[in-house]
Symmetry: C2
Subunit: 163 residues, 2 copies
């Protein structure tokens, strides 16, 4: 079970810092009828829950970067940028972030000295394993009010949107 009464329920805590169509006194007009606005509210809530779960400085986006590096050893930064829709400068900074923490390293690729592949270090893998647990927990909290069938349906429909 989760921790006792001393720590507030993270879901309801983050929810109170999120706009709500249902709880609010104000009239949201057209926004109520927009799928995009509902998607945004769900995203704000999910981002808040996950940010709260992760270490300070480790944003959801930075976690995604490390996860993709881990699953694609030797990925070039240009490919990483394409996969996460980052600019190349932003990718440099993201890789710097994890490299400074000893979680990834750049290795020169033989044959073309402009290129370097990015790899997780053993310490990075250990960190990632810990972060993955936080991420799974935040994702469970996000969908806590849904049945497994509803979660599956929601994912299927969202995937039809973003593919």
């Amino acid at each position: 079970m989760s921790s006792p009464t001393s720590v507030a329920d993270p879901l309801s805590e983050v929810r109170h810092r999120t706009p709500s169509l249902a709880r609010s006194e104000v009239d949201y007009g057209l926004l109520t009828d927009l799928t995009g606005f509902s998607v945004k509210l769900a995203w704000v809530l999910g981002h808040g829950l996950l940010s709260r779960e992760l270490d300070p400085g480790v944003t959801p986006h930075r976690f995604s970067t490390l996860e993709v590096i881990s699953r694609n050893p030797g990925l070039q930064q240009t490919q990483l940028a394409a996969a996460l829709a980052l600019t190349r400068p932003a990718t440099t900074l993201a890789v710097d972030f994890w490299q400074e923490r000893g979680c990834v390293e750049r290795r020169k690729i033989a044959g073309d000295r402009r290129l370097s592949g990015v790899y997780t270090t053993p310490h990075g893998e250990a960190e990632l394993e810990r972060l993955r647990r936080c991420v799974r927990e935040a994702d469970l909290a996000l969908t806590a009010d849904l049945t497994p069938e509803e979660i599956a349906t929601l994912r299927r429909l969202l995937r039809k949107i973003h593919r």
Copy 2:
């Protein structure tokens, strides 16, 4: 019907600037199994579609502000801040933005001279009507691959998340 072949399909155009689990060569690992990541991708896509549809400078967030002001005449800025999860300084700037464009005005409230209510102007209402059409169009584009039943289901499930 929409415009002819000279203008590219906005959905596919924005999609190409969005990360994609399905189209990409890279392995997204755990991210594939996260509802939160799917929500984020859908949000990025929707935000891109809507930004593209609105005038330069008019962000989705600023549209929401104007819509809420319009539907709640005389709302105080503190209430507006609470409804949209803005800080009060951010609310001041958002109201300034629309006031500079002649779309809203602040009116002093009799009885407590600290307070002022925010109202749309006739010009603001006309602008809003035009913007609402853009917003509806972007929302239709976002859900173009879903049936009406699927859209209803998606909204119901998202609402269960953010309430």
